[in-house]
């Protein structure tokens, strides 16, 4: 059986569609490998104990908490982070709608939400609001109050289906 101890270990995996090779100590989590060794700071650390969802990435297309995955477990697998969501053609529809609707406020939880929402829409292009809430239940946000996040996911889902969606209007009873 292959055995790894204190020395740095080399592994290869696919990161945002490209093959990468990286060497790190075996106790490092994927989160630390991404942030410290690969300088990809888009994946956030919020609690490091699997309680907040800010560090969510996709491993082989499925969301996982990178703070609870050893970097070594990524070997041979495909990892996607927020840095890989946009294409040369532009932002991913979810990125667009999160930016447009105000689903990103302080922005710290946003990358985790984006990746989990992407996983949801890949499996379910027309999620109900309840399904969105359930899929995103492990992602905590302290700023937005979540409503704008639901709307951003619904709007992106509609656009990805080639439809448009009218978001509820909000009112300022005002001066002009």
């Amino acid at each position: 059986m292959p055995e790894r101890t204190k020395q740095k270990t080399h592994i290869e995996f696919t990161l945002n569609g490209e093959a990468v090779e990286v060497a790190f100590a075996p106790h490092k989590t994927l989160l630390e490998v991404l942030r410290e060794d690969l300088n990809l700071m888009g994946t956030k650390h919020g609690c490091e104990l699997g309680e907040c969802g800010t560090c969510a990435v996709l491993v082989n297309g499925r969301s996982a908490l990178s703070c609870l995955v050893l970097g070594l477990e990524a070997e041979g697998r495909s990892v996607e982070t927020v840095e890989g969501m946009a294409s040369p053609a532009g932002l991913h529809p979810l990125q667009e709608t999160f930016a447009d609707t105000g689903a990103a406020q302080c922005g710290y939880c946003t990358p985790g939400f984006l990746l989990v929402a992407k996983e949801l829409l890949a499996a379910n292009p027309r999620p109900t609001r309840e399904e969105i809430k359930e899929a995103l239940c492990g992602n905590l946000c302290r700023c937005t109050g979540y409503i704008k996040i639901y709307e951003a996911v619904e709007l992106a889902a509609a656009r990805m289906r080639g439809e448009e969606l009218e978001l509820p209007r909000e009112a300022v009873y005002g001066l002009d």
Partner: protein, 738 residues
């Protein structure tokens, strides 16, 4: 007609945030960076008898272990602008790490382990051995409430009228006691600093709401001039008050960096956040309300006691707003504090106001039931047409319209008065209402604008954007008054190389910094006018600064836009590559003639499962009147966030302390519950704009705090309406409703 102000604008920093490019404090790198990990103590009060770092020092990668034995002493700390009370500049007694063997609270830092990697530092931190001489501690506010005293600073507010006698004489009285546990902000981003020295010059990347405050603190801590310290904080992943004061870690980080002559990064773990900054204090409130049978209030006695630390006073002025909410001739509303062996509390979203209004607005609901008057009607009966405290007129107050609009949207007229009278199948339905209040604060702030001939502008002010959309709103204001397309304006903040701005707290940023940006833009126009009128043929001859405006590269007469000059042309003629103006805005003396406050009305529906005690907030309508709304998109989002904070406070949030050990037992997000997606259903936020030229030139008031102020009370009132059970101790968890 405004081009940007009042229009929906997406965040200018939105793309940076959705692509992972926005850089938060811990994400700055420096060559040869080493990592510090904080070791926390394990008892609540006493002294460190012995601290053994030998094993930690031998661990792989460890560079140094700092303790009180080898850490240099930090100089006295100047208080920050936002320090209580009333901006006094006396010496700050806030906690600083590793300065002595004294233990003031459990989970106090006792060592900092610095190593080549984060994991090495974290591992070695486990190897530090500490023994203590313990002393008897007190962390239970209930146990010591009898020794509560008035805060030593500021004169205690005098009673209004004769509250005791009026209370005795009141035909209808209610009296009750309410409790709020310790709560923690729990922003998603943990606090972090990266510090690097070059000689006597320090650069520090910090998560802060107040770069200038951190700068002053570090300058005095290390005995260097303020100009030698640069504090950088471009993005903050939420803070909610937890980064208003310089916490202990920036000085600790900078100290290690100075001693080791290399850059150091320190990041709090989630657990360390629970004693690494303050918290909403444990608050006990006793309220008595006296009224005539008509509902007219005749006496209010609202007494609050909350804890502070043993080494420092903190007072969140729990009862402050009670004096200004309802018209009542007789009132007593002191806030008292009592020392506990816990860290010092601090401001947490809507500090004081949300706590005080929870008690007051629940008590008003209790009074409504004692009187058999509709709770909303009771509030209207006691509507304060002028400020009950000062007697001054309001600069603006559209609260009545908030009540009316909210009631209409919510369908309040269909509410049945009796508790337990509304149902949805098995579920008990409850409708509750409450009033929200916050100030319309403004503080001095400075902004600088550089306008270039190519029609681009660079705008700076050292404020912060912890999430509300400050980057965006300042860009909008600058673009509006410079008459530029918004894409041509770049606003920067969060850096002491920019002009001074107050801390981002107390919902005063748009009023303070926005006024400075507005003023700087007008100053640019005035400067251009002066330059233009040096030319004898200027079509603007005779015009004064207030007669002109800028639009799309031209400076023109407001009254006759056909009379204009080219901005680029004026600069060219004067051989200028740019025009830069710095403007300091200050609160107008006119404000002294008025009382200035922001108001709101909240309407909440809960559905309670009577079998298992689960409460769902199925509908919330919040109507707020906080002056002019500059960016409705960000503003709605901000208020929704406030509502959800209210849901958390009402139903979930509590920091649990085992008083035997004086130790926080749920310093994590698995046991400290904040609302999740599934807790949030329909939330609608509405604004009733107010035309208020008194508060500041933009007519804006605070809204970030306001959004949550009335919500916990409205929810608790709705729970009473649903169940007939009055829960006076937050949070309202299922076990309290069985």
């Amino acid at each position: 007609m405004a081009r940007y102000i009042g229009k929906e604008m997406s965040r200018v920093d939105g793309v940076a945030k959705v692509t992972g490019r926005a850089k938060y404090a811990a994400e700055f790198r420096a060559p040869n960076l080493a990592y510090g990990f904080i070791v926390l103590g394990t008892m609540a009060k006493g002294r460190i008898r012995e601290i053994d770092t030998r094993e930690a020092e031998r661990a792989p990668g460890v560079v140094r272990v700092f303790t009180h034995l080898n850490a240099p002493k930090l100089g006295p700390k100047a208080s920050t602008e936002y320090a209580p009370p009333r901006n006094t500049r006396e010496q700050d007694k806030s906690f600083r790490a590793l300065q002595s063997d004294r233990i003031y609270f459990n989970m106090q830092p006792v060592a900092l382990v610095v190593a080549e990697t984060y994991e090495q530092a974290r591992y070695a931190a486990r190897l530090v051995r500490v023994s203590y001489d313990t002393e008897r501690h007190t962390t239970d506010t209930e146990a010591v409430r009898g020794s509560a005293r008035a805060p030593s600073q500021g004169s205690p507010p005098k009673p209004r009228g004769n509250p005791e006698a009026a209370m005795k004489a009141a035909p209808v009285r209610v009296e009750a006691e309410y409790r709020i546990p310790v709560e923690h902000h729990n922003s998603m981003e943990p606090h972090a600093a990266v510090a690097a020295w070059e000689g006597d010059k320090l650069t520090i990347f910090d998560k802060t709401q107040d770069v200038y405050g951190v700068r002053a603190h570090l300058a005095t801590s290390f005995g260097v001039p303020e100009e030698n310290v640069q504090v950088v904080s471009p993005y903050v992943g939420g803070a909610f008050g937890a980064s208003l004061r310089p916490n202990y870690y920036p000085a600790l980080t900078a100290m290690a960096a100075r001693e080791l002559k290399r850059p150091i990064k320190v990041v709090y773990t989630r657990t360390q956040m629970f004693t690494g900054h303050g918290y909403r204090p444990y608050t006990i409130q006793k309220i008595a309300l006296g009224a005539e049978a008509s509902g007219k209030l005749t006496a209010m006695i609202h007494q609050a006691v909350h804890n502070t630390s043993a080494f420092e006073e903190f007072n969140d002025n729990t009862t402050g707003f009670t004096r200004q909410v309802y018209a009542c001739p007789n009132l007593l509303a002191p806030t008292m504090i009592v020392a506990t062996d816990l860290p010092t509390p601090t401001w947490m979203r809507a500090p004081g106001a949300v706590s005080g209004m929870f008690a007051l607005e629940c008590a008003m609901d209790e009074l409504a039931y004692a009187l058999k008057i509709d709770p909303l009607e009771l509030r209207l009966i006691n509507y304060a047409e002028t400020d009950p405290e000062s007697g001054r007129p309001w600069s603006s107050k559209a609260l009545r319209e908030c009540y009316r609009l909210g009631a209409e949207k919510f369908g309040w007229k269909d509410r049945k008065f009796e508790p337990r009278s509304m149902r949805d199948g098995r579920l008990l339905v409850g409708w509750g209402t409450a009033t929200g209040v916050w100030g319309a604060f403004q503080r001095p702030a400075i902004a600088r604008i550089t306008l270039r001939p190519d029609g681009t502008a660079h705008v700076t002010s050292a404020t912060s954007d912890i999430g509300p959309g400050t980057y965006t709103v300042m860009t909008m204001i600058a673009a509006e008054y410079l008459g530029l397309e918004i894409e041509r304006v770049k606003f920067e903040l969060g850096d002491t190389k920019f002009p001074r701005a107050p801390a981002q707290g107390g919902s005063q940023t748009t009023s303070s910094v926005g006024s400075a940006v507005h003023g700087a833009a007008l100053a640019v126009g005035a400067k251009l006018l002066t330059l233009a009128n040096q030319d004898a043929s200027s079509p603007l001859k005779g015009a004064t600064a207030s007669d002109v405006e800028m639009l799309d590269g031209r400076l023109r007469l407001k009254s006759d836009p056909s009379k204009s000059v080219s901005v680029a042309g004026v600069m060219r003629l004067n051989n200028l590559s740019e025009v830069t103006e710095t403007f300091e805005s200050r609160p107008s003396p006119e404000r002294q003639k008025y009382a200035t406050m922001a108001h709101g009305a909240q309407f909440v529906e809960v559905k309670v499962d009577p079998d298992i005690g689960h409460v769902r907030v199925t509908r919330a309508i919040e109507v707020t009147a906080c002056g002019k709304i500059i960016n409705p998109k960000a503003s709605h989002s901000q208020e929704i966030g406030g509502v959800v904070w209210g849901i958390g406070m009402a139903l979930q949030e509590a920091t649990e302390i085992d008083h035997r050990y004086g130790r926080i037992m749920n310093p994590n997000l698995q046991h400290y519950h904040v609302p999740v997606n599934a807790d949030v259903h329909e939330v609608e936020t509405l604004f009733v704009e107010e035309d208020d030229k008194v508060v500041n030139p933009l007519g804006v008031k605070g809204m970030g705090e306001l959004g949550m102020v009335g919500i916990p009370a409205a929810i608790a009132n709705a729970v009473f309406h649903a169940t007939g059970k009055r829960v006076r101790e937050l949070p309202i968890t299922p076990d309290k409703l069985l």
